[in-house]
Symmetry: C2
């Protein structure tokens, strides 16, 4: 006889008490495969409960796989597989890299993973490699109050699915705000994205197929290069000169590509405070670039990630501001000014394309994060963003001035050259030794206590000399001073020991 | 002589006053192409300011494209193109669909755009088409307080770039929470994503190439089907029966695919409260499914978007809980319980794959939205999530019971059939007429005042009869009653008029 102690006082329903007890008896092997349970009528009589309750329990046991059903009755015990405990798993039978992913793709992704680990190693080192922001100046308290008001005053539907194009008032605010940079577009020409990378990927998805060609600056933004590689796009580098992309080479390559019927699907450029070189191209250069794009019917993606970070009040107008024929797609972001953790960027371009990109975005991101977009909108509307930009400029300008001064002092020797950026967070040092020396020099720097990025990974084709990208955004002034000294000593020592 | 009125009292720097004045003279055509400006020395004497200030102004004018430089002097006026005003643009010269995107892809995306518009037409209609949540019960105030505390107590670095894998404490909380569903995995086996769609796309990116084959349920989740189509994946449908995917057909198709050397890269299934049919498959079915996957070495993607929405306390264990050999990838989300606008879901699976997916995620989303993840973590940790699930279950259970009762009353006639779901928000009605009638029936329903979804778009191959997906999540009880009555009258009328 099956003994099932029931407790009518506890909140657990009776049928569930029966289920749990019988499941336990099976798991502990007290009840064995093909053992027979009493009929529902008999058990209900034994337990003094309704037959319906027993039926419910047996149905549940059946749905859990503990009973076999035959001729409408559920009375034979079935041994179901046990639940898998993490410390007690079977052998992995699948070789994912070989059977599913493929060696080539797996190799590419494993390289990305390695890169990632390399940047998060030591703690005592002065890290001038990452372009993180200095969060100590974030206006968190103002944002907290804004967020609190939004959650108090907005309807709860704000937390439901939202418009995949983004929170409309923020879109409208951005369309107004871009006027200060002389970009004049309609709200329907703007798509909010989770930062510039998502915007860029959407364009890559829409404009390219595997095997298509695109042109980029070399050296250029690493993240964009990896993304293009991940999409199987054929990337052609146009060399960066002191004043920007070499337009003669660009023209030649465009000419050749048209002849070979391999016109690039777009040209990707970072015209202001270029990453990694820090270069800002002139108005004339911008005009020539856009007119080349028009001549060859190639869309231009203008990544203006640091549009706001101009310390010296110097104006350079975005290429988008000269875009008479809707050939430029402008990528903007809040992330280089404040709160990159909110992940809010945008894309401005031709309306039909924005519609298509919105549909593509919806496939992977049903909705935007409307709460943070609404909070950012209120923050901007109240003028906090404008005020904070001023603070950011002062804050980083003083870091940058310190860095420039010290670089002049410590790094003015023959084999090292660099240009003063007019904004942004980056220095791009050329060290006049063969590029094979890069990893040794980087190791020496790290050993001495400063981490910078080696330039080679920013190039499409390997460079001839060593380049170093030095970033001053996330370090404080003392660290910058110390870091640049260590850097100069390391380079000096390296050059001396080589000689 | 150039007359430039300067105002030393205003905060605008002198050099910028010069820049603005000269730019204005050029834009207004007072200064013309090739006009000559005074030398820097002369202008500085005229204005009684330092020569350096004039040099700075001329440099700026040059960088803005207003001057030509020759032999080190910047004195000839250059007409730069004017800034483009949105109402005054030139003709669009690019035919994006033809020249860049390609007709086929453009057609696919334009169809997506159309679909979207179709769902946002009328306002008076009772909308039983979308699976939105009822935001009126969201615990917004509790969340507001949680968010406020997070922004008060966490360091500002929370708002900086975060870990692309997701906010660690939330990952750990989820790994604990999944134990209540008998899934036992390490935190390193979890990746946080912006909802299930992002998780699914990452798997598609990692596991498939264009032209690869995958198996899905037919009918199945539309969004997933569109996403697969966007990736150029060859989708094979396995018919859904009353008790789930037809496993005999699945086995045959697996057999055939292996013979043709086209083994699917994965099988995608929604085993619990399947969308669109509402079916929950049994334990035995789950066991057979996973053992087929093991036999044929095919990973299984288990989309458990509504794991928590079980009204009747009935337990069915996720397939992942039986995954001894790390062949199952489990997709979970908060979005069907609360705050879909926060966009937080997750993926649980083999550690090496999670690492690769994290690297892929980082390519397009440098970081997660750490603020909302941290706020959700605190909300969960305080027990609010657990409490809210109970409320959600009660809330939707009463909607569902109302709907079931009324459906039995109104829709119990010969040509209509359906199954009571054991949870979730969906009914799947079969109307026994040829599927060609779908759009006419839908039109009639809309005309009468209720909107539901036609079933055909959920199928890989066109179905024989008409199916309707009826959702009760976002409507209130009165609307549900009214909606189902209108639905039954519409179907009756339609069938009568046809006969």
């Amino acid at each position: 006889m099956l003994i099932i102690p029931l407790d009518k006082k506890i909140s657990k329903p009776i049928y569930r008490q029966i289920v749990d007890k019988i499941a336990k008896l099976i798991e502990s092997d007290t009840l064995k495969e093909d053992d027979t349970l009493p009929s529902t009528r008999r058990l209900s009589e034994q337990l003094g409960i309704s037959r319906q309750t027993v039926v419910q329990a047996y149905e549940e046991l059946w749905s859990l796989g503990y009973l076999r059903s035959s001729q409408g009755a559920y009375t034979k015990i079935r041994k179901r597989p046990s639940i898998v405990k993490k410390h007690n798993r079977g052998k992995m039978t699948m070789d994912y890299e070989k059977e599913i992913i493929g060696k080539q793709k797996a190799g590419f992704i494993n390289a990305l993973i390695k890169t990632k680990n390399a940047t998060t190693e030591q703690t005592k080192i002065i890290d001038m490699s990452a372009m993180d922001l200095d969060s100590s100046i974030f206006p968190v308290d103002t944002f907290r109050k804004t967020m609190n008001n939004v959650l108090k005053q907005y309807p709860p539907s704000l937390l439901n699915y939202g418009d995949p194009q983004g929170y409309r008032p923020l879109i409208e605010w951005i369309s107004q705000r871009m006027l200060t940079h002389s970009i004049d577009v309609f709200p329907d020409e703007i798509l909010l994205t989770d930062g510039i990378s998502q915007a860029f990927e959407l364009l890559v998805k829409l404009f390219t197929e595997r095997g298509d060609t695109v042109f980029v600056e070399s050296p250029g933004y690493r993240q964009a290069l990896s993304l293009l590689a991940a999409h199987g796009v054929n990337v052609i580098g146009v060399p960066m000169k002191v004043n920007g992309m070499d337009l003669k080479v660009l023209k030649k390559k465009l000419e050749a590509s048209v002849k070979m019927n391999k016109r690039p699907k777009f040209i990707y450029t970072v015209p202001t405070f270029h990453n990694p070189t820090g270069i800002t191209i002139t108005q004339q250069h911008r005009e020539r670039l856009i007119s080349l794009c028009l001549d060859y019917s190639v869309p231009l993606i203008e990544d203006s990630f640091e549009e706001e970070i101009r310390y010296y009040n110097r104006v350079v107008l975005p290429i988008k501001s000269m875009d008479h024929h809707q050939i430029v797609f402008y990528l903007g972001t809040f992330s280089k000014v404040l709160f990159p953790g909110l992940r809010i960027g945008w894309l401005a371009g031709e309306k039909g394309i924005i519609k298509k990109l919105t549909a593509l975005k919806k496939l992977t991101h049903l909705s935007s994060n409307t709460l943070t977009q609404a909070a950012l909108y209120e923050f901007c509307k109240a003028g906090h963003y404008e005020r904070f930009i001023k603070k950011v400029n002062d804050h980083y300008a003083s870091k940058m001035s310190t860095a420039i001064k010290l670089m002049k002092e410590c790094l003015s020797f023959d084999q090292v050259s660099w240009h003063n950026p007019s904004g942004g967070y980056l220095f791009w040092l050329k060290v006049d030794v063969s590029s094979e020396n890069e990893s040794d020099l980087l190791k020496l720097c790290e050993k001495n206590g400063v981490k910078v990025l080696g330039g080679s990974k920013f190039f499409i084709e390997a460079p001839e000399s060593v380049y170093l990208r030095v970033c001053v955004s996330s370090t404080n002034i003392d660290e910058i001073k110390k870091g640049i000294r260590i850097l100069s000593i390391s380079i000096r020592d390296f050059l001396t020991n080589r000689a």
